[in-house]
């Protein structure tokens, strides 16, 4: 158990690029917009093969969100591409009014989320985007964990009607999920069954949670491991079912603890199954320059932090 075939080390943004390119071939309604970051978002292939359905907007993200909203009037399915910071905070009011409140079928696709952006520093390392987007009524929020899951999520979004936020990143991380997976929006992936502690992880923290679970299992601690890729709508049933069995929960995410997966899980559990919950995430802080690995260590987002949180949660049971 907890053994996976590592297909390769690849970036989740490339999963988005491949998924988008496949959608270009399979769905003529799909159009793409980019704010001067085609290479960073891996949108080159779509642009090359479907130039009439690709819109360069320049460094003008507010306009991009509005144009995307407008393209839905005429039955297009727009996918916008820029960094996560410029996909959310910079254009929050445009998303709120022209996309979310207007119920437009726009897919906001955001790369370079979180600390793993690395050396560019805190201006670009957004750690608040999940919270901002999840607060918008009827906004779907997805944070996939590897190349294959990101590609599958991208493809699934075209068949999902309504505004959605897809968050992915820059670093190459182990690609361990199945290449032919069916991505079900809103359905948690139960990676491993266990009885002592539940670990709930999203995004880049999922692989670190797998590594943590292996070590915990080797120490005799039985781990119930869940991947929440869809943060909204949250699979409350999967979380509550697991917590009812283990009685102790850890959340892990590359995001602020406040307003992210941790907050949402704690909220669900406080209502349906109160139990000890420990959070691995950024604790009310901005990031800084450094390598992705250095930053994940400094800000406490490593497997060691997940292990420590699991033991703490278990101790609180007693």
């Amino acid at each position: 158990m907890l053994e996976f075939t590592i297909h390769n080390n690849n970036d989740t943004r490339s999963g988005f690029g491949e998924g988008l390119h496949e959608l270009g071939k399979s769905n003529p309604k799909v159009v793409a917009l980019c704010a001067d970051l085609i290479g960073s978002l891996k949108m080159d292939a779509f642009k090359k093969d479907f130039p009439e359905r690709f819109f360069q907007v320049g460094i003008a993200e507010a306009n991009m969100m509005g144009v995307a909203a407008g393209l839905t009037i005429g039955d297009k399915i727009p996918f916008t591409g820029t960094f996560a910071n410029f996909s959310t905070g910079r254009v929050y009011d445009q998303i709120r009014q022209s996309i979310a409140y207007s119920g437009k079928n726009v897919k906001i696709c955001a790369s370079h989320a979180g600390l793993t952006l690395g050396e560019d520093g805190a201006t670009h390392q957004i750690l608040e985007d999940i919270g901002m987007m999840a607060m918008l009524p009827h906004m779907t929020v997805i944070n996939p964990c590897d190349f294959h899951q990101t590609k599958a999520a991208t493809i699934a979004l075209a068949d999902h009607h309504g505004p959605a936020y897809l968050r992915f990143g820059r670093p190459k991380v182990p690609c361990f999920t199945a290449p032919d997976q069916k991505f079900e929006i809103g359905k948690a992936w139960h990676i491993h069954a266990g009885t002592d502690v539940t670990i709930i992880a999203t995004g880049h923290l999922v692989w670190k949670a797998v590594e943590a679970a292996r070590i915990l299992e080797a120490e005799g601690i039985s781990v119930d491991l869940i991947n929440i890729h869809t943060i909204k709508p949250l699979d409350v049933q999967a979380i509550v079912t697991s917590a009812a069995q283990t009685g102790a929960v850890v959340t892990a995410e590359e995001h602020q603890i406040i307003g992210g997966l941790g907050s949402m899980v704690a909220q669900a559990l406080s209502q349906h199954h109160p139990c000890p919950v420990e959070h691995v995430g950024v604790n009310d802080s901005f990031g800084e320059s450094g390598t992705p690995d250095q930053l994940m260590q400094k800000y406490g987002l490593e497997k060691e932090n997940i292990i420590a949180a699991a033991k703490k949660a278990i101790a609180r049971k007693k």
């Binding site: 320049g58 507010a62 991009m64 407008g70 393209l71 839905t72 009037i73 022209s98 207007s102």
Partner: protein, 261 residues
């Protein structure tokens, strides 16, 4: 409408009445009784300065999008006629929420480009306030429209020279609007927005200039509060409702509007 709920924006609404009436009754090709969001084959209109919803709702209802009697629900609980226009309540004729300023031009550009992708010959019209031009997104959209040659678009700016805190010249000067829009690569026309014949002529001219690789902007000089003497030419009636006596006075100057709903 505004008086009945003691809230709303009468000044800008009155100034733009001629424009919106002309658009919906003389110039836009619409299927009001077969409303659908995508408007394939139709001309589309986007009201970017959503606060002048009273005049838009009035025109939409009379054009047949929804019953005139529904105007009496304006701004009331559970209404489809929200203070600022929205798609959220499913009001026919509204394709985007507006109210937070500066966003409508971008949306209209997307809709115009969708028409091009669909080989749809319909045109897209937009209206913006002059104060709204202080929003940066407008200029992002202006640049985009020219770059992408969005030439199935006819925009208009309500140049009434007023905004909430006073005359635009005092609050934040707009400068030479013709020069600005021309510099951004647009074809610029000017008209008196309170003269029906001038509006008709300018719309015909603008429509004849579509399909030539450039977006079109109409600078439309209007008077805020037009038709009601005590509301004319001042920003004071931007977002204030008339009281009983003021309503009676206003309606006595515009007898054709009596007995609306």
């Amino acid at each position: 409408m505004v008086h009945a709920v003691n809230s709303g924006h009468p000044g800008g609404s009155l100034g733009c009445t001629d424009y919106i009436v002309s658009l919906y009754f003389s110039h836009m090709k619409v299927n009001a009784d077969q409303w659908n969001m995508d408007g394939i084959g139709e001309d589309l209109f986007f009201l970017s300065n959503g606060h002048i919803s009273p005049v838009w709702y009035s025109v939409l209802s009379r054009r047949g999008y929804f019953p005139v009697s529904e105007l009496s629900t304006f701004r009331k609980l559970n209404t489809r006629l929200q203070g600022h226009p929205t798609t959220h309540e499913g009001l026919p004729g509204v394709r985007i929420a507006s109210g937070s300023l500066g966003q409508g031009l971008s949306v209209a550009l997307g809709a115009a480009q969708a028409k091009k992708l669909n080989n749809d010959k319909g045109l897209v019209f937009t209206l913006h306030g002059d104060g709204e031009l202080q929003e940066g997104q407008i200029w992002e959209a202006a640049m985009y429209a020219a770059h992408h040659k969005v030439d199935n678009l006819i925009s208009a700016i309500d140049v009434n020279g007023q905004q909430i805190d006073g005359p635009t010249e005092k609050v934040m000067s707009l400068g030479n609007l013709r020069a600005k829009w021309e510099a951004f690569g647009w074809t610029v026309l000017e008209m008196d927005g309170n003269d029906m014949d001038a509006i008709d002529t300018t719309f015909n001219q603008a429509k004849s200039m579509t399909g030539q690789g450039k977006p079109i902007m109409i600078l439309m000089k209007t008077e805020m509060g037009k038709g009601v003497d005590f509301m004319e030419g001042t920003h004071k009636w931007h977002g204030v409702a008339p009281n009983d006596a003021e309503l009676a006075n206003a309606l006595s100057q515009l007898e054709e509007t009596l007995g609306d709903y």
